[in-house]
Subunit: 381 residues, 2 copies
DNA sequence: TATTGATGCGGGAACGTTCCCGCACAAGGT
DNA sequence: ACCTTGTGCGGGAACGTTCCCGCATCAATA
């Protein structure tokens, strides 16, 4: 069918992949010309350009990425580390948030032409040292984590959360947790709640620390006592127990055990609950019921969670979504910009959260009842 | 401190990375010699070898992985796809099993010198087409999944589960689910259970299909009716509901609704439960209690789960571990062997599971009580 | 008809490694 | 004295791209 050029014929060998020169020879052009044609660069006549493309297509040419990388000096590889180095041995990813963040980050990176390489938190420096990484993404580094320092020391740019702000070669993307916490607490207040309680895990993560700080500030501004219950660790079990603590004995004032004077006493039972721990909304709801609360009658409930089941409980649970997909996209876009336009300046991006207001946090008389399909949640910034 | 050689001094530039020739020049040797010294090949005098190494170390030389790859023809990159393409949009990884499998696979691969590239299930062919992948790992491909065909068509070896057995260029690692199911059912039988029920999600995954088949065979061999309850989908909610169905109304004979004559009637309540769905053991245990069962008095319970909380419930729950770390290691070892010793023959590895027998599946009089520390679970192959 | 400028294409170097050779030199045998 | 064998090291090609050039060719202008 085609002319000449059977320079070996097909053996049963692994297939000696077709190169640029092969296409060039077949098309009667030079590799330079074919390269220009395929990359849409250079000055070529439309006829030649098309001829080159057609030939390449016909021969099933696929460029050798490694050679490209070598020439370009960048490998288009991004390392991806998830936190919790010391504590949990590689039991990351289990939370819906991290799972979705990871998936979305990989997908977005891929669309931008970068591949995400998984770097389990236990990995030794020597194991990734000879990977041609253009950058490393570190999600939620623990306070004591060496990984950021190691990577920066190796001369590789780091993208992480706001905890790396200001460091040379480091960039950050973070969720606007301060606004988020405030918006929930304001929402509670609007709905008439006066004794909101915060349930948050006791971790070294910046995220949780910032939640706690935002809550503290808001309480101070509104002259309310801080009601916080700390869960020992993340995960459904401990968090549900913490919720039960909050609902049973009433909140514990953080920091000062002596301030617990107003603790038990039925009249001080919480009237709103903000659970910042990725607990399963149905489980939290059920815990509330077990303790005799009617939601949203006696207790307004908001969970920070990506769990889709929140929409299908009775009542549906208001959630604060951290929008992992949005964070992933903002992060990768930021990263690509820095990598390809080479600004070495430290820089950051703040991503807004989304509050999906559902029945669990709205006083009854406010409730919109529509037949058939759900009206969809009200959305606040 | 060191002699001479300031051939530019340090600018504020990105750092023009030190190459092999730089080391060679500094050491007064040729790049060939330095390369041989660092790679421990060739014929070199100990003195020269040491000199080269020392100089490289001093100059902070790190080889350019891309150049190496180009020369070697292999990029040491492995694609990693997780299943559920159509159904759930990138909500993989949430289960402890997949999370741990993923982490362990990445870690093992890294130790063997390969990097794992995350390929979200939605990714287009065009997105990974120009990655220099040496192989692609596909975990639990759905029955209708195109990904395996696409990758094979691109001439890239595939490593997946047993569903790819026999295909050219495909290799597999799988868990010995047949033995596993049998060992659990035998265990139930030894403990005196006569009406075991299987709870399994309704999915297109090979794993679940094989569980179902093994159960069917075992029942046939032992002359017992098949008692199966299918959960609509994986995830704690649906599975717990399925468990409740199993415990409340009694089991449903699969396939033939007319065979349900012996269904309700208190005397036919199940006396053993095998939950193959990664449900949280505490949740399942609680569901049993709600329905008035005493575990292990009235009901023996075994969960297929990697959830560590199983050890800490009261009673501790017997689990069948699929040993994700073992699968990861076996899989990567197999992969490396195929890649580096080039056998194109289709081949596979079967990995045994591990039954951690705890109190939830042992009749009281069998129970070993020891003071202080736990005696550790009995382990069956 | 020369001179300029633009256009179309190809030659060759470079990216940083590894590896096949070949050369120089020393030691041992005849 | 020669030839052989072995050891220690380096020169240069190759991996497959991209990109800087330079060389033709041709139209438009002086």
């Amino acid at each position: 069918m085609t002319s000449g050029s059977r320079h070996g014929g097909q053996r049963s060998e692994p297939t000696p992949r077709v190169r640029l020169v092969d296409v060039a020879r077949e098309a009667g052009l030079s590799k330079t010309t074919v390269s220009a044609a395929l990359n849409d660069t250079g000055r070529l006549s439309p006829a030649v350009r098309e001829k080159a493309r057609e030939t390449a297509r016909r021969m099933g040419y696929r460029p050798n990425a490694t050679a490209r990388q070598l020439r370009a000096g960048r490998a288009k590889l991004i390392g991806y580390v998830v936190g919790e180095a010391a504590d949990a041995p590689s039991v990351f990813l289990e939370s819906p948030y991290f799972a979705r963040l990871t998936g979305a980050t990989a997908a977005t990176a891929l669309r931008r032409g970068y591949a995400l390489v998984l770097l389990p938190s236990g990995s030794l420096q020597s194991e990734w040292a000879d990977l041609p990484l253009d950058a490393v993404v570190v999600t939620d580094p623990g306070a004591d984590d060496r990984i950021v320092d190691d990577v920066l020391a190796a001369g590789i740019p780091v993208f992480s959360d706001r905890s790396v702000e200001g460091r040379q070669g480091a960039h950050w993307v973070d969720v606007d947790i301060d606004s988020a916490v405030r918006s929930v607490l304001d929402h509670f207040r609007e709905q008439g709640a006066r004794r909101p309680v915060l349930v948050v895990p006791d971790s070294t993560t910046r995220f949780h620390a910032e939640v706690f700080a935002a809550h503290r500030e808001w309480c101070a501004e509104h002259g309310l006592p801080e009601r916080v219950v700390r869960a020992g660790e993340p995960g459904n079990g401990p968090v549900v127990r913490a919720v039960e603590t909050a609902l049973a004995g009433g909140p514990v004032a953080d920091g000062d055990p002596a301030a617990g004077g107003d603790r038990p006493g039925g009249g001080d039972r919480p009237d709103a609950l903000l659970v910042v721990a990725e607990a399963s909304p149905p489980l939290v709801l059920e815990a509330a019921r077990r303790h005799g609360y009617d939601v949203p009658g006696d207790l307004l409930l908001v969970c920070v969670s990506e769990d889709a089941t929140a929409e299908h409980t009775e009542p549906p649970v208001t959630t604060l979504s951290l929008r992992p997909e949005a964070i992933a996209e903002a992060g990768i876009d930021h990263l690509v910009k820095v990598l390809e336009h080479g600004s070495r300046e430290p820089s950051g991006t703040l991503v807004p959260t989304r509050l999906d207001v559902r029945a669990s946090s709205v006083r009854r008389h406010d409730q919109v009842v529509s037949g058939g399909s759900w009206p969809g949640p009200r959305r606040l910034a």
